[in-house]
C-alpha cells in the first residue's frame, strides 16, 4: 500500500529487504498519454487528419506537454494579427485558454453546437476574439483525464466579415489583407467539426488501447526478466555459499585424516623397526617359525605403511598442502626407473612387460617425485589387475602439440590385458577410496587411493588422465601432460542435493 503520491513506496506490515531494491511495477504506476502512444505513428495520423480536413490539430497530455501539433491554413492570418500588440495579447490569452484552461463551460467556453442527442464526452467550444473558433475535447481513459485534443481554429459557417472585436482592438489592420488571409482557413458549420472531432477521439481511443497493451506487456516482460535474473543471482549466491561450506568441511576432513595418518605412522615405524631387529637376530637367534612370524609382521607392517602414506598423500592434496616443485626432467629416465620398481611383482606373476620409448629423449618440466608416483601407481595397478601370464604395455610419445591441452605435451600410456573396469564405473575410479569391487571379500587389496592421487598430480601439472576399458579384456590409461606445466590448481568439492520442501495440502 502506498499513500500520498504516485510513486509512493509500498509499506506493508512485513517488508522483505527485496522490496526496497525494486522500483514500483509499471502495473501500479499512473500511465501518461505519452506512455501509451507511439508518438511517431501518432504524429503521422494527426498529420493525415489535418491534411484531409484542412484543420489544425493539437494534442496535449494532462501536464500540458504537446504530443502532436499540425497547423492548417491559419498561419498567415494568425501571424498577421499577432503582429499588432493588442492582437498578440489577445491571441496569447486565447491559446492559453484552449491549452491549459478548464475543460468546462466556464471562462468564455460554451457547449458546442451539435444535433440533439449527440454524446459530446465533455467537449467545449472556445471562441477566438478574431471570430474564429476552437473545439476542445478531453481525452478520457479509465475515468481519468489524460489530456486534451484541440481542433482549430476554423471559421464558423455563420461568420461573415471580420468582426468588430478584431478591428477595434487592432487599429491599422488592413481589412482586405485580413480577409484574404481568412479565406485560407477552413470554413465549416461547427456541428461538422464536432463530428470530425468525435471521430478523431474514437481513433485516438483505439490507439491508446493498443498502445497501453504494448506498453504494459513490454514493461512487464522486462520486469519479469529482471525478476528471473534476481532469482538466478540469489540461487548462485546460495550455491556459492554451499560450495564454500563444502570446501571447508572437506578441508577439515583432510586435515583430520592427515593428523590421524601421521599419528598411525609413527608407532608403525617402530613396530617395523623392532621386527627388523628381531629378524636380524640382534637380540638373539630365532627359530624358523619365529622368523616366519616376524617376517609376516614386517610384510603386513609395510603394506600398512604404504596405505597410510597414500592416505597422507591424498589428504595433503585435498587440504591444498601439496606444492608441486617443477624442475627439468628426462621422461625416458623417469619411466625406466618407475618400471624397474614394479618389475619384481610382474615377474612373480609371469607378466610380459613391454616398454616403447621415443627415439629422441623427451625433456620436460615437472615434479619428479610426483610424476614418478603417477607412473608407479598406474603400473602397479596394471600388474595387480592383470592375471598370471598376461601382458602390460607402456608407451611414451614424443613432445608435440596436444589438442586436449592446446599446448605442446607428451603422453604416457599404460595398457594391460587385465580384468578391466565396468563401463558405468569408469568415471568413479578416480575418486578417493573408490573400489570397483567393494565387498569385504574382494580379490584385490588396496585402499582405492592410487588413481585419485594420479588424477590430482596429473591435473596439478595441467594435464589430463583418461581411461578406456572393456570388462575382461583389459584397460588403457592415457596421461597427457604439458611440456611446460602451469601453476598448481585447487580441487573441486562434490555437490550436495537439498531435500525438497514438504508439499502444502490445502486442497
Amino acid at each position: 500500500m502506498s499513500e500520498g503520491g504516485d510513486s509512493g513506496r509500498p509499506r506493508h506490515g512485513e517488508s522483505a529487504p527485496r522490496l526496497d531494491e525494486r522500483p514500483l511495477s509499471v502495473l501500479e504506476r499512473r500511465l501518461t498519454l505519452g506512455d501509451m502512444l507511439d508518438t511517431a505513428t501518432f504524429a503521422e495520423l494527426v498529420k493525415s487528419f489535418a491534411e484531409l480536413y484542412k484543420l489544425g490539430v493539437k494534442v496535449f497530455d494532462d501536464k500540458g506537454n504537446r504530443l502532436a501539433d499540425m497547423k492548417s491554413g491559419n498561419g498567415d492570418f494568425c501571424g498577421y494579427v499577432f503582429s499588432f500588440p493588442e492582437g498578440k495579447r489577445c491571441c496569447t490569452q486565447t491559446v492559453a485558454r484552449v491549452k491549459d484552461g478548464p475543460l468546462a463551460t466556464t471562462q468564455n467556453a460554451r457547449a458546442p453546437q451539435a444535433p440533439a442527442g449527440t454524446k459530446l464526452h465533455g467537449m467545449i467550444a472556445v471562441p477566438c476574439f478574431t471570430g474564429l473558433r476552437y473545439l476542445v475535447l478531453p481525452i478520457l481513459w479509465e475515468g481519468d483525464v489524460l489530456g486534451r485534443v484541440v481542433f482549430g481554429p476554423f471559421t464558423p459557417d455563420e461568420m461573415g466579415d471580420v468582426p468588430p472585436s478584431l478591428t477595434d482592438l487592432t487599429p491599422g489592420l488592413d481589412l482586405a489583407q485580413a480577409q484574404s488571409y481568412l479565406a485560407k482557413i477552413r470554413r465549416a458549420p461547427e456541428s461538422t467539426i464536432v463530428k470530425v472531432l468525435l471521430h478523431f477521439a474514437q481513433l485516438l481511443e483505439t490507439l491508446v488501447a493498443a498502445g497501453q497493451k504494448t506498453f504494459l506487456t513490454s514493461q512487464v516482460h522486462i520486469e519479469a526478466t529482471l525478476e528471473s535474473n534476481r532469482d538466478l543471482e540469489a540461487q548462485n549466491r546460495r550455491l556459492e555459499q554451499m560450495n564454500l561450506q563444502l570446501k571447508d568441511m572437506d578441508r577439515l576432513k583432510s586435515s583430520f585424516l592427515a593428523t590421524v595418518s601421521h599419528e598411525l605412522r609413527t608407532p608403525l615405524t617402530s613396530i617395523i623397526g623392532y621386527s627388523e631387529m628381531l629378524s636380524e637376530g640382534l637380540v638373539g637367534p630365532l627359530n624358523q617359525e619365529q622368523t616366519e612370524y616376524v617376517k609376516t609382521i614386517m610384510d603386513k607392517g609395510d603394506t600398512l605403511l604404504k596405505l597410510i602414506s597414500s592416505i597422507l598423500d591424498v589428504t595433503q592434496i585435498e587440504a591444498g598442502k601439496v606444492r608441486l616443485s617443477f624442475e627439468p626432467i628426462s621422461v625416458n629416465d623417469l619411466v625406466t626407473s618407475a618400471l624397474s620398481s614394479i618389475k619384481p611383482q610382474a615377474q612373480k606373476k609371469g607378466l610380459t612387460v613391454d616398454l616403447k620409448l621415443p627415439s629422441r629423449a623427451v625433456e620436460v618440466r615437472g615434479d619428479r617425485e610426483k610424476l614418478r608416483q603417477v607412473m608407479v601407481n598406474l603400473l602397479s595397478n596394471a600388474v595387480k589387475f592383470t592375471p598370471k601370464g598376461g601382458w602390460v604395455q607402456v608407451l611414451v610419445t614424443e613432445a608435440k602439440f596436444q589438442p586436449e591441452l592446446d599446448a605442446d605435451g607428451w603422453r604416457f600410456v599404460v595398457q594391460d590385458s587385465g580384468v578391466g573396469v565396468p563401463s558405468d564405473q569408469l568415471e568413479k575410479i578416480f575418486q578417493s577410496f573408490y573400489q570397483v569391487d567393494n565387498s569385504s571379500t574382494r580379490e584385490f587389496g588396496g585402499a582405492g587411493l592410487g588413481l585419485a592421487i594420479v588424477k590430482s598430480y596429473v591435473e596439478g601439472h595441467g594435464g589430463t588422465v583418461r581411461v578406456q576399458s572393456e570388462l575382461g579384456q583389459g584397460s588403457r590409461f592415457e596421461v597427457v601432460l604439458p611440456v611446460q606445466p602451469p601453476p598448481p590448481r585447487a580441487l573441486i568439492a562434490p555437490p550436495l542435493s537439498e531435500a525438497p520442501p514438504a508439499p502444502v495440502e490445502r486442497f
Binding site: G8, P10, E28, L216, V504, R506
Partner: protein, 233 residues
C-alpha cells in the same frame, strides 16, 4: 492499495491467481460482460494462439464516492503456466486481495496445492505477509464430471480461514460472489491499515455498493449481501 490524497484517488489491486486453465481470464470476461461501459475500462488481455494468458489480463472498474474520491479497482489475472512464475510474482506485487481460482475436479487437487504453495512463496518473495493478504478460494468448473462434492468443499473450507465459493465461471455463476468476497475482505484490510472510513469517508457498505452499482447482479446473491452487509463464508 494506493491512496493519493492530492488527487483524491484510491486504487485497489485484486489478483486472480491459480493453476493454468482454471478459469481466471473467464472470471474477468464475465465481470466485464456484466458491467456497464461507463463504470469500467477496456478488458486488456494478452493471450497466445491457444488461449493461454501470456502476461496478465487487466480490467479496471471505477467509481466516485460521496466524499469526492475516485476509486479504481484493478482486477488482474496472472499467467498460469509454470514457466511464467516471474511474471506471476510481478503481477502479484502489492495485491490487496487474491482470488484463488481452483479447478474442482479431483484430478486437479495436486496442481491446486502446488499453486497454493506457489502463491505463498511469491507473496513471501514480494514482502507480502501471506497471513494478512485476504484470499478467497473459488472452486470453479462445478458443472464438470468428477468434481469434488459439496461435502468435500466444506472440508476445504474447514481447513483454513479463506471463504470458499463454488462457481461455473463460464456461465457467470459464482463470479460476482467471488469478487464481492475478495473486495469485502480487501476493504476490511485496507480500512485497518489506512482508516478509509475515517479518513476518506468511505465505509464498507458504500464501497461494495458502488462497485456493484453498475454491474448486472441479477441471479446472484449480491443484492441480499449488500442489503444485509453479509457475505459468503
Amino acid at each position: 492499495m494506493q491512496l493519493n490524497h492530492a488527487q483524491r484517488e484510491l486504487t485497489v489491486k485484486v489478483v486472480y491467481y491459480g493453476p493454468g486453465l482454471s478459469g481466471k481470464t473467464t472470471n474477468l470476461q464475465m465481470i466485464h460482460a456484466r458491467t456497464a461501459g461507463e463504470g469500467r475500462g477496456k478488458l486488456l488481455t494478452v493471450e497466445t494462439h491457444d488461449d493461454r494468458t501470456l502476461f496478465f489480463d487487466l480490467l479496471p472498474v471505477f467509481f466516485h464516492t460521496k466524499g469526492g474520491y475516485t476509486v479504481k479497482v484493478k482486477l488482474f489475472t496472472v499467467p498460469g503456466q509454470v514457466i511464467h512464475n516471474a511474471t506471476r510474482r510481478v503481477v502479484l506485487q502489492n495485491a490487496d486481495g487474491v482470488a484463488f481460482i481452483a479447478d474442482s475436479r479431483r484430478t486437479a487437487s495436486q496442481e491446486n496445492n502446488q499453486y497454493w504453495g506457489n502463491l505463498q512463496d511469491n507473496m513471501r518473495e514480494n514482502g507480502l505477509n501471506a497471513a494478512q493478504v485476504p484470499v478467497v478460494i473459488q472452486f470453479n468448473k462445478r458443472d464438470l464430471p468428477d468434481t469434488k462434492t459439496d461435502a468435500e468443499l466444506e472440508e476445504t473450507r474447514a481447513r483454513g480461514k479463506e471463504p470458499v465459493i463454488g462457481a461455473v465461471a463460464i456461465r457467470g455463476e459464482g463470479v460476482l460472489e467471488t469478487l464481492y468476497a475478495v473486495l469485502q475482505l480487501a476493504y476490511r484490510k485496507m480500512d485497518e491499515q489506512a482508516g478509509l472510513g475515517r479518513n476518506i469517508g468511505l465505509g464498507e457498505a458504500e464501497f461494495l455498493k458502488l462497485v456493484f452499482a453498475r454491474m448486472d447482479t441479477g441471479g446472484t446473491h449480491i443484492a441480499d449481501w449488500l442489503a444485509s452487509g453479509g457475505g459468503p463464508r
